[in-house]
């Protein structure tokens, strides 16, 4: 303010629509909506919505240096103006001279020695008190606190000494301040402390910030600093004070006043104004000289006070309220959020609202939430029934699948795709593949235990199986039911047969018997596929039969009969009309399997591209076909090509080719990249042959992410189930026991570990109470036989049922977890508070803390449950 007559701006403390611009004169404006009837023609537009109307001008007070608005409601519009000669004049704007104001308006508060008045502040409590900060004088005080209600006291200034001062006779001059503070230096800025209205924070006193208490002015707290300009208290945090020096703002905590808690990044130009936002926590606006931007510092998330080692988190940004014009000053609106009016040196004003930063958060479910200012918006996925499953977010799908135990069916592995919803062909293919792999490996295992080489081959996918193929025999088979030799070469080997098994066409053994497979297809109503498989096995009759069956079935397609008819006319005559027509018309068939049937029949031997590259046909069928009809040179090439395609596309059908190998992980990676489905990836890879793929860091990453996801959903039971499932399939993931309950007396673990102390376990059973085994418990230490602690609630000694002690039976089979015999019911578990060390049976404790917050032990006031951060969270998958 002191440099030239740049306009400053001041909001009325009580009228949200009035402000004063002060430069050489005071102008009162009213702000209102633009274009409304209220605003007159002379209204100045401030923004698109608002305009200001000039209400009054006061030019009675020249040489203005600072202005302060009277803080009380009445009299409104009373201003204290500090002048260059140190006088403080009370004046008003746009007031009819009513009685209340009249006494005060025109009153002059005159210091003993004239010098510039730098700053003014009304006491927030006693509104009669006005503090004025002045420049230094060799023999006078720099801070004067005036009582504006005091009357002129003639004896204070002997009349004959009044010579150079102006009009004193009016009776409105006050020369005796209430308090005088600070000798021999200037006061550059000051403010009253809102916490204690008797305290005053002064800046400038010998490069100090000093807090004076008016009740005892000899007592003061001060700190030496350069930052002595513009002290201002955060209205939302009354111990936080900002002050500045040139380009640097220092933030102080009055409780830790020795040094600034932090300083903001220094600006190259000197600051002219620093102001806390009155409507928003911890938002500080700063303005530098000749600048057209206002810098904002958001300290909302800055803890106060913070330790020295913590870097303060301050979000700095800048706003440009009026495009290119330089800003002379600005003022926050007292009540409208984040709103300010800025004024340029030529008095162009601008109404501006600082847009609040938007913070955004995803929930672990699919909801999205964002906050702007005081508004909170939530966006959730449309959970309506009409939403097709395919359109659902993968997170929603995974949640639903987790709830339906997806991935946990270890007996009928293929059923997992049903648990997943049964509508995803890729998942269906994947789980069937895994099913066949496990099935084959199991039967291999049972039959030929020594051949571990073959075992790993099964997991390595058809791609590797066909590469290892040797001793392929080429035969020309007859069309079944006729003696007619086909001219189609047909290949067979042990590996090819294994591949067919993995494709699901045949069950096992060297015989190629697809009949069970056809039956199952018929059962599922997959007539075309069944017919195609029958045809590929050179059984036209069966194929026709299947088609007829399909046509006659419920909701059957009568066209199948037509197809059967066409099929029955098959001839291997090369130039027949049948061949000609079929090869051209087959393209019009909509059903891919029907299409490939005719493609097969009309193809030259060994040139089956129309079958092999028909993408609508399932990969497993195409691969099985290839295994039968492609020679040793063609087959690996085809499989490689197909595998690469699948890998690139992230198509899970390709797992059939890659198996659960590194290739398979690559494929799965591309699938996860596309879908984000870490659930399927985790479960799939867990099925892999022990070791290899699970060691892949990507696989570990998927598993960990899936576990975290379950935790985030509060599916803790599912997480636990998954962990158990995982530890069964991947023994390396089994955590070692890390916690033992040790006996108070002997210090040994009280748990029964059959390997650790089999003798004692057995020995104890002799001592065991021979009664109902479920009731007998181990209530004493197995090591020293001293009793275990008592439950604080039932006062019984704690312990575990003796009958379920492991070692007594071979319970640890790979049976389903839920049917597993547990060592003890959860209700009987030992629990105790880590704080007060009281505890008891878990069940008792849980029920106690349902109604109580304090420890059940009398005279113990520990709030055990509240110390548990997760104690208040309820798992969302609890039944």
């Amino acid at each position: 303010m002191s440099s030239g007559y740049k306009p400053d701006i001041l909001w009325s403390p009580h009228h949200a629509d009035r402000y004063v611009i002060c430069d050489t004169e005071l102008s009162l404006y009213r702000i209102g909506p633009a274009g409304s009837s209220e605003t007159k023609a002379g209204a100045l537009p401030l923004s698109e919505e608002t305009a200001a109307t000039l209400l009054a001008i006061n030019s009675d007070t020249p040489y203005m240096k600072c202005v302060a608005w009277y803080p009380k409601q009445e009299p409104e519009c009373l201003l204290a103006v500090g002048q260059a000669n140190g006088r403080v004049v009370l004046t008003s704007l746009g007031q009819s001279h009513n009685s209340k104001c009249k006494e005060l308006v025109g009153k002059e508060l005159v210091p003993k020695h004239a010098r510039q008045c730098n700053t003014l502040a009304w006491n927030p409590g006693d509104s009669n008190w006005l503090a004025a900060g002045l420049d230094k004088h060799r023999a006078d005080f720099s801070v004067l606190i005036w009582d504006i209600s005091s009357k002129f006291s003639p004896e204070a200034v002997p009349a004959e000494k009044v010579r150079l001062s102006g009009d004193v006779d009016s009776g409105l001059v006050v020369t005796k301040p209430l308090y005088e503070l600070g000798q021999n230096d200037a006061c550059l800025s000051l403010c009253w402390l809102p916490r204690d209205h008797q305290k005053l924070l002064l800046a400038g006193m010998h490069r100090n910030l000093a807090i004076f208490d008016l009740r005892n002015t000899s007592q003061k707290t001060f700190v030496n600093t350069k930052a002595i300009q513009g002290v201002t208290v955060d209205p939302h945090f009354q111990d936080r004070v900002a002050s500045f020096f040139e380009g640097q703002v220092a933030i102080w905590d009055l409780r830790k006043f020795e040094k600034p808690v932090f300083t903001l990044t220094e600006q190259p130009k000197p600051l002219t104004k620093v102001a806390w936002c009155p409507t928003r926590m911890g938002l500080l606006a700063t303005l530098t000289r000749d600048s057209n931007i206002i810098r904002l510092y958001d300290m909302q998330h800055t803890p106060m006070p913070f330790g020295d080692e913590v870097e303060p988190t301050i979000i700095e940004r800048s706003v440009q309220p009026c495009s290119e014009s330089i800003i002379s000053s600005f003022a926050w609106h007292p009540s409208a959020q984040n709103r300010m009016v800025v004024v340029s040196p030529n008095r162009v004003m601008n109404d501006f609202t600082v847009f609040e930063r938007i913070s955004l958060a995803w929930s672990s479910t699919t909801a999205l939430m964002w906050a702007c200012g005081r508004h909170l918006y939530e966006c959730t996925e449309d959970a309506g029934q009409g939403v097709a499953a395919a359109e659902k977010d993968i997170a929603t799908k995974m949640r639903e699948r987790a709830q339906s135990h997806y991935g946990h069916d270890t007996v009928q592995v293929w059923r997992n795709h049903v648990l997943a919803g049964g509508d995803d062909p890729q998942l269906r293919s994947l789980w069937y593949t895994l099913h066949y792999i496990l099935h084959c490996s199991y039967t291999e295992n049972v039959e030929q235990k020594q051949q571990s080489n073959k075992q790993s081959l099964i997991y390595s996918g058809i791609k590797n199986i066909v590469k290892s193929s040797s001793g392929t025999t080429e035969t020309r088979r007859c069309w079944s039911g006729s003696d007619r030799q086909t001219d189609v070469p047909w290949y067979h080997s042990e590996e090819r047969s294994l591949a067919l098994q993995l494709c699901g066409w045949i069950s096992r053994g060297p015989d190629i018997d697809v009949e069970p497979f056809l039956k199952s297809l018929e059962q599922e109503g997959e007539w075309e596929r069944a017919a195609a498989v029958a045809l590929f096995n050179l059984d036209i009759r069966r194929a026709i039969q299947i088609l007829n069956k399909g046509a006659s079935a419920e909701k059957g397609d009568l066209n199948l009969n037509v197809v059967a008819m066409a099929l029955s006319g098959y001839t291997d005559e090369k130039n027949s009309l049948w061949r000609e027509m079929c090869s051209s018309l087959r393209l019009q068939l909509k059903k891919p399997y029907l299409c490939v049937m005719f493609a097969f029949l009309t193809s030259e031997p060994g040139a089956y591209d129309a079958v092999l590259y028909e993408s609508r046909v399932a990969v497993r069928d195409r691969v099985a076909f290839a295994c039968m009809f492609l020679n040793d040179a063609q087959l690996p090439r085809y499989i490689d090509k197909l595998a690469n395609e699948m890998k690139e596309a992230g198509n899970l059908e390709g797992i059939l080719l890659t198996g659960l190998t590194k290739d398979g992980v690559d494929l799965m990676e591309s699938y996860v990249d596309q879908t984000g489905d870490v659930q399927t990836a985790s479960f799939c890879m867990l099925k892999g042959s022990p070791g290899e793929v699970l060691k892949d860091p990507r696989v570990q990453c998927w598993i960990e992410n899936y576990r975290n996801l379950l935790d985030a959903w509060r599916f803790w039971h599912k997480r636990a189930e998954f962990d158990i499932h995982r530890s069964k399939l991947d023994s390396s993931s089994k955590p070692l026991a890390q916690v033992f309950v040790s006996c108070n007396f002997c210090g040994k673990s009280i748990s029964y570990s059959c390997s650790a102390m089999p003798h004692q376990g057995r020995g104890f059973s002799q001592y065991g109470v021979s009664g109902s085994p479920t009731k007998s418990k181990v209530t004493s230490c197995p090591g020293c036989r001293k009793p275990l602690p008592r439950c604080a609630l039932c006062l019984m000694n704690m312990g575990t049922p003796v009958s379920s002690c492991p070692g007594t039976g071979k319970a640890d089979e790979k049976a389903d977890l839920t049917r597993d015999k547990k060592l003890a019911q959860f209700n009987n578990w030992f629990t105790w508070c880590h704080n007060c060390r009281h505890g008891g049976h878990a069940g008792h404790m849980l029920s106690w803390f349902r109604d109580h917050s304090e420890c059940p032990v009398s005279a113990c006031t520990c709030k055990c449950m509240q110390l548990d951060t997760t104690g208040n969270l309820v798992p969302s998958d609890s039944v």
């Binding site: 007559y5 004239a114 010098r115 060799r138 023999a139 350069k226």
Partner: protein, 338 residues
Amino acid sequence: MRRRKRWKLHILEHSLKVASIAKEGIQICTHGLIKLAFLPSKTRCKFFSLTETPEDYTIIVDEDGFKELPESEYLSVAEATWLALNVVSGGGNATSSQPIGVTKIAKSVIAPLADHNISVFMLSTYQTDFILVRERDLPMVMHTLSSEFTLLRVVNGEAVAANSTGVTNGFVKPKLGNYLPRPIIHPLSSPSNMFCVTSLDPDTLPSVATLLMDVMFYSGGAKETGGQSEDSGHIRFFSFSLIEGYISLVMDEQTTRRFPNNVLFTSASGELWKMVRIGGQPLGFDECGIVAQISEPLATADIPAYYISTFKFDHALVPEENIQSVIGALRTNESTGQ
């Protein structure tokens, strides 16, 4: 924070030169002087003072400002580099009717320095008092004053503690010279005109710049044609200083009337001052104890005073109502001294 409230003495960072410009040579320096006085943004000068006496113009200026002055036969510069000391109150003790200016520091600063044969050069302004000492005397100054003051050296605007190095200049500390009145050696005179110590808002400086220039550089010639001498009562005396942004003016009452209303800062009581001029012959810079001779009796009598040293003579300003008692007190000392 500090329990014991000591007074603090700031050793300012300005390296000052004291120069004299002969009256007839003033025109060659006016360009530089106007720049120093009215265009502070054009120079890096932070400390500038110009005092006009009937004999000459005394300039006190820091090194940056000194570059603005031309080399000339009319310009004589005191050899030494000077440092300014400034006493600031340690605590906010708002009690007591504090004596103004030099009187306040007479006993604590000026007398001890005089006792240790350290020559001082005084400059009182509207805002404060500066005690100029030679840079080479600084260790001795610090040694002398460290018992009485917390010494702070101002570096880049920040006050840092300065430690005395315990140097002595060989003079023994006088034993209990306390109550022996210091004899006054130099003749005194008291002009009849009355003076005003005042200041003005730096923002209004441009509006009165031409008037100030007239007062500084031209009024002497116009007025002095009447052949007024000091003996006839009036003395030509005007002082302007611009130190760290603060303006201070000392001028006689008649001159103040030439200024527009409300430009000059005046005290509510409108006090006026009379001058005591010290020295018949130019005093030189080596003699010490002159300020102490004057200020000690004033301090004893609790009379406020300003003290402005110039190249040739010293000037004390005392309240007009006290002038008789001051003269009386000083004459007594003068006689006892002889």
